[in-house]
């Protein structure tokens, strides 16, 4: 219990916010959760307190609120929406990765590639989709078919994200 409370207050100090909840101990009320959203070559959020995160996963898209039950999930190509504490929303397209929600309300979102949605170009995405579809048509081995199917899934999600 103390360890969790210590981690939480340390995380709050980290994000530079001294809320009254610092005084409170206990697992049941965790008014904010700490998000670490990173890709191998960039950091999007590092232990930042946010309100809600929507993630696309293979077991379905779900939203993560503070005090969400701990779980692990594998990300599907799609859009991650982060609702920050000041009310703004940011959307990122992720290609794949994992999400970990721990007991102490820390969330680690590790994506293989993550880009802000407004940097996506819809014509390039549609071209990629056409390319992957022709790849699937000309694929000969099982491995090539699977790879083409993966790239179709990613390009379809890209096109959907742009719209």
């Amino acid at each position: 219990m103390e360890r969790m409370a210590l981690t939480r207050s340390a995380l709050r100090l980290f994000s530079g916010r001294f809320t009254q909840a610092c005084q409170v101990r206990g697992y049941a009320d965790a008014p904010s959760m700490s998000l670490t959203f990173a890709a191998p070559s960039q950091v999007l959020y590092n232990n930042i307190s946010v309100k809600q995160i929507d993630v696309p996963s293979f077991s379905g898209s779900f939203g993560i609120l503070p005090a969400h039950v701990p779980t692990l999930a594998v990300l599907k190509p799609g859009v991650v929406t982060v609702f920050e504490n000041d009310g703004s929303t940011k959307k990122f397209f992720v290609s794949s990765g994992t999400v970990t929600i721990n007991e102490d309300s820390t969330v680690q979102l590790l994506a293989e590639e993550a880009v802000p949605v407004d940097t996506l170009d819809i014509s390039a995405a549609k071209e990629l989709l056409a390319q992957s579809q022709s790849q699937l048509a000309s694929a000969s081995s099982e491995v090539a078919k699977a790879e083409a199917e993966i790239s179709i899934e990613v390009s379809e999600a890209l096109v959907k994200a742009c719209e």
Partner: protein
């Protein structure tokens, strides 16, 4: 004076004529100067690569630390079992970088001595050379062509895929690499690696909701690639900074040698001139007295 000058150049064990010694000193001086130029340029190159590597490492650190969080929070412990240990030794192909490779080789050797049922996956040629002589049986896989270009996630994914495809089974595992601390220091650290069974039997796993073996498998595979990527990045930064320091020391040592050799050269040259003068003068004096 001549015997003294011969003593200053210890490698000339026999007394040779002054002229030949002069030539040898000047050859040596030229070669040490060339070496100093080479080490200085290697230092410049490493400094540039180090700045880039450190920048990329700063961006990769949250990713790497985040990837280890689950194993800490879920309190995953090593599997109880006799399937042996897996060590992934992360290093590189290129030398002249100080103690980077030898420190990893040393730890692997002590580990294998303590735990003979160990398999090692080696990333980088240098550690393979260290281990090949005595522990060739324990080497499971070697990854080469490492270190020339900065690592990308795809490289780590490739290595992780090969490890998974080879079907190595282990009860406990670790990734051994050099964690970067400062420009002048690094620390050889290990990151624990857990098998799928170990994760499935973790003490806090029931807290985590709706997990099936598929999710655990994908999660462990992805986190293997992530941890490998992180260790490669840390190791690359340590290697470049270590090489920078090593080449800097080499340049300084070469500079000292050049100073000493130049002194010797000048003294020898003056000795030769003096001897010639004395010969001439004594020859002239002998002619005079004869007359």
């Amino acid at each position: 004076m001549f015997s003294r000058s011969a003593a200053i150049i210890p490698q000339c064990s026999q007394q040779v004529r002054g002229m030949a010694t002069l030539k040898m000193i000047s050859i040596r001086l030229k070669s040490v100067k060339n070496i100093q130029k080479i080490t200085q340029s290697m230092k410049m190159v490493s400094a540039a690569k180090y700045t880039k590597a450190e920048r990329e490492l700063k961006l990769a650190r949250p990713y790497g630390i985040g990837a280890q969080e689950f194993y800490k929070k879920a309190e995953v412990k090593d599997e109880e079992g006799e399937k042996g240990q897996l060590i992934i030794a992360v290093s590189s192909d290129r030398g002249l970088c100080g103690a980077v490779h030898s420190s990893i080789g040393r730890i692997v050797k002590t580990d294998i001595a303590a735990n003979p049922n160990t398999k090692v996956v080696i990333v980088g040629d240098k550690v393979r050379n260290i281990l090949q002589r005595l522990y060739a049986k324990n080497i499971a896989m070697v990854v080469t062509e490492v270190g020339r270009k900065p690592a990308v996630f795809g490289d780590a994914a490739l290595v992780a895929q090969s490890i998974i495809n080879s079907g190595i089974e282990f009860s406990k595992g670790k990734i051994l690499f050099n964690a970067f601390r400062t420009v002048v220091s690094f620390r050889t650290t290990e990151m624990p690696l857990y098998s799928q069974n170990a994760v499935a039997n973790a003490s806090k796993l029931p807290v985590y909701d709706s997990l099936d073996s598929d999710v655990i498998q994908s999660y462990t595979e992805f986190s293997l690639a992530s941890l490998l990527f992180y260790s490669m990045k840390e190791n690359a930064t340590s290697e470049q900074s270590s090489r920078m320091t090593a080449m800097d020391n080499a340049s300084k040592n070469a500079g000292e040698m050049i100073d000493k050799l130049t002194m010797t050269f000048n003294r020898t040259r003056q000795a030769v001139i003096t001897r010639e003068l004395i010969e001439i003068i004594s020859g002239a004096a002998a002619l005079e007295t004869k007359n």
